[in-house]
Amino acid sequence: MKTIIKRELLDHLQSIQFIVLLVFSITLFSANGIIFAKKFRQVDSTFQQRTAGSQPHPDTQIIFLFRQSNPYLFLAEGGDLDRPSAYFLMAKGYFSASSAFLSRDYKLPDIPKLDWSFIIKTIFSLYVILLGYAAVSGEKEEGTLRLVLSNPVGRVRFLAGKYIAILCAALVPLLAGCLVSSVILAIVLPQILTFDTVSRILFLLLLSAAYLSLFAFLSLLVSSLIRRSSIALLVLLAVWVVFIVLIPDISGILAQKLAKVPSDYQTAKNLGPFVQKEVWDKINGIQARIDRGELRTEEAVKAEAEKAYESGQEKLRFYEKNYEDSVAQRARLARDLSRLSPIALFQYAADDIALSGIHGEEEFLKNISSYSKIYDAYVMKKTGKLISQSNWMFSSSVKVDGKSIDLHSPQPEAYRGDMSDFPKFVERPARLSEAVRYALGDIAGLLVWNILLAGLAFSMFLRSDVR
């Protein structure tokens, strides 16, 4: 078996695919290192500028919370750079993405970022196919398969030897590339190369090995099923296209179709004119209720106006939450559907490890939620009441017993005194163990693919007619 592996590996190392892959790998990974080092510096310096001094800037009406720059984005960007880098938070746990800090270079084409997971999931998977498609069918075509198997070599050993050789031939350029990228990052940004980063890198490499091994098994399977190597390659490529393009894209489309998301416009209308009108109607109705004798005292009238305001605020929260939830639901559905493809499994697991995907965002929102309790307690202590601002207001006046009362929508109070004890917002990013827990399902999926394809490949090869 050692002989087989050695011979196969030598064959691969001399082949044109291998050389090209090595060149691609080193080029792309060094580009990755340079780009992400630059990007991290830029994002991090913006973050440092914004949060210089106390973070957040003390205020009892509204505060800004900034997201730390994620040092693992070079592994898997996961849409992180397009997410809002700041949120505003008000009393009663109300927060929202701030539109002032969105990505600025919106004129460039939207293409996936050149991170490790992108290079591995597209380029390397394709090259594993190119290395493996002729493993059995090529030898069959040339008649050497018969010769090899007439020696005292078991078929299982033969195929296992081929498998190991393919995987090694793909992993060598991968490791070389990763090394180059890591060295560049280590030189430019020595501060991010911590134990944590290294363990994430190693974890991603393990994940990549599992992912590439699945493609090695797949090409061996197809190669033993199909006699002509060019047809085997065609079939493998068709499968690759299905995995990388069709399943993810179609699941995006299906999710858009199946999930009921209120349109951008409908939500905007509910949040704006609709709720505003409801509240105004209630406020305008107060005079009539006074005349009917339902409200007699000034306190009762004021309480009623406050109730109207609060009900409006609740409606706002409801529509916002409904929108956010259904968008998140749709994204989850799209991802669940695309998990049929191992490429998506790998991508989502890599995103989780780099804390950049949907789960990374959820973790940050949890951080805000837990901070908002501290903030509420602080505001309560300083100003004595919790009021969250609204995007509409009212001001009107009514008459009770000939006395006129002004009704204004409540405003959160700006505390003018000493705020040196303002609570600090400290973001706690998820640890590796938590990240792995998120990725567990996807990793299991990759293993299942491996076992399934390995079983099929071996059983097909054992039964195949080698003449």
């Binding site: 996961g78 894209d249 951008d264």
Partner: protein, 442 residues
């Protein structure tokens, strides 16, 4: 003689599994994608009309909405993500559109499965170009490896006739598939009652199909060339795939990455400093007038009017800085495109977006229209308040519209890309031809 060869080759292609499977896959994806995009367009169109009716601003804050482009059904481009609403006041001329809910909405739409969207342009760029590679990789290499090339050339057929015949047959098949896919997509659009295609839209669709044809021909020429050069079909296919992944995936990617990271843009702070500097000469007067108007109760028409003029001037100065920044962003985008001048996929994308009006050119035309509207009609309306209050109260918010691009303009703008694609195909065909004439066919 050529006729016989073309006929035989076409029949061979039609019977081959790769053509049949490829055509079915192409057709299914094109139809499904177009159907979904039509639904999406319908919803966006409804939202747009409803927003114009229901979400009117007041006379001071004028809300302008951007209509969705009908051809985004075929080429999504950036139409969905660039936003759909602008709010104008004396204090602000927007330099960028937002979603209906502010900038959040438009951004949020994107986070689906994390992969891209599918439309007719995608089908051409990825699926059909791959199909072209599959169809053509063995045009010559397989006959050579089977030994039938020798036989074919033993007949009284000149070599160039054989290659020409093969080339024409392959092109006919490729263009035929393109024709079927585009006809299916367009027919699907035409039967929708809410989609009204103007004459210029039809012209644009024809241009789009022609651009697709140019793109596919370039790939076909490349495949033919490799097929002539390489003797083993599987090696030819391998080389072609590597070229495909370079031209369609890696090269455009690196171009954007370089432009994104090595093009210096001013930071937020620099921009606000520039805005402040631009208004510096008027700052003192502005402060004086504002204090008089707002705090000292000087409500004389002259003061009010001066206050308004200075406000407008400040927005204008800051808009000039924004405009300059926008121009830099455009230069950055152009740099990304020009770095990828040799990738047929990028050339095709540029042409497709231009014809479908879903690229940045259309967006910028809209934004220019917006700035002009603010300058002339909006400010004119606000001025009335200080000149003739009664007329202001009676006045209606002036209608907004912006000049549409004539098809000829789009056509002229895409000539360079078209020429490069033509040139590429021509050179590759000539190379294939020369290589075939000198080829050892044994």
């Amino acid at each position: 003689m050529i006729g016989t060869i073309v006929k035989r080759e076409i029949l061979d292609y039609l019977k081959s599994a790769k053509f049949q499977i490829g055509l079915v896959v192409t057709l299914v994806i094109a139809v499904v994608a177009t159907a979904i995009n039509i639904q999406d367009f319908k919803l966006r169109q409804q939202d747009y009309t409803a927003a114009r009716e229901e979400m009117k601003g007041n006379k001071y804050e004028v809300l302008i909405y951007r209509p969705p482009q009908v051809l985004s059904v075929l080429v999504q481009g950036k139409d969905r993500v660039l936003g759909s609403k602008a709010s104008l006041t004396t204090l602000t001329i927007p330099d960028r559109l937002t979603g209906y809910m502010g900038s959040r909405g438009a951004e949020r739409q994107r986070s689906l499965s994390g992969f891209g969207s599918v439309d007719f342009a995608f089908v051409v760029r990825v699926i059909l170009s791959l199909m072209v590679v599959f169809l053509a990789y063995n045009a010559v290499s397989e006959e050579k490896s089977f030994g039938t090339l020798k036989l074919a050339l033993a007949n009284p057929v000149p070599r160039h006739h054989l290659l020409l015949g093969k080339g024409l047959a392959g092109l006919a098949i490729v263009l035929g598939s393109l024709f079927i896919a585009s006809t299916a997509s367009v027919l699907l659009m035409l039967v929708q009652p809410f989609i009204v295609l103007a004459g210029s839209d039809v012209m644009r669709i024809l241009n789009l199909v022609a651009a697709s044809a140019l793109y596919l021909i370039a790939f076909y020429a490349l495949s033919l060339f490799v097929s002539v050069l390489v003797n083993r079909p599987s090696t030819a296919l391998m080389i072609l795939l590597q070229l495909w992944i370079i031209l369609v995936v890696i090269y455009p990617h690196l171009g954007v990455d370089i432009a994104e990271n090595f093009f210096r843009l001013p930071g937020d702070r620099e921009l606000s400093a520039m805005k402040q500097a631009a208004f510096q000469p008027y700052e003192a007067e502005f402060n004086k007038v504002r204090d008089a108007y707002r705090y000292k109760g000087d409500r004389s028409p002259e003061t009010g009017r001066r206050y308004f003029e200075l406000q407008a001037l400040e927005s204008q100065k800051s808009h000039e800085v924004d405009l300059d920044f926008g121009r830099q962003l455009t230069r950055q985008m152009r740099l990304a495109q020009n770095l990828c001048l040799l990738s047929p996929a990028v050339l095709f994308d540029r042409m497709a977006n231009r014809y479908a009006r879903t690229g940045l050119d259309e967006y910028e035309r809209f934004m220019q229209g917006l700035a002009r509207y603010w300058q002339t009609k909006y400010l004119g309306l606000q001025k009335l308040r200080y000149e003739d209050l009664k007329a202001y109260q009676k006045a209606e918010v002036p209608a907004f519209d912006y000049p549409t691009e004539r098809t000829a303009e789009a056509w002229i703008a895409t000539i360079p890309q078209g020429l490069i694609l033509c040139l590429m195909s021509l050179i590759l065909f000539v190379l294939a031809y020369a290589a075939f004439l000198k080829k050892d066919v044994r």
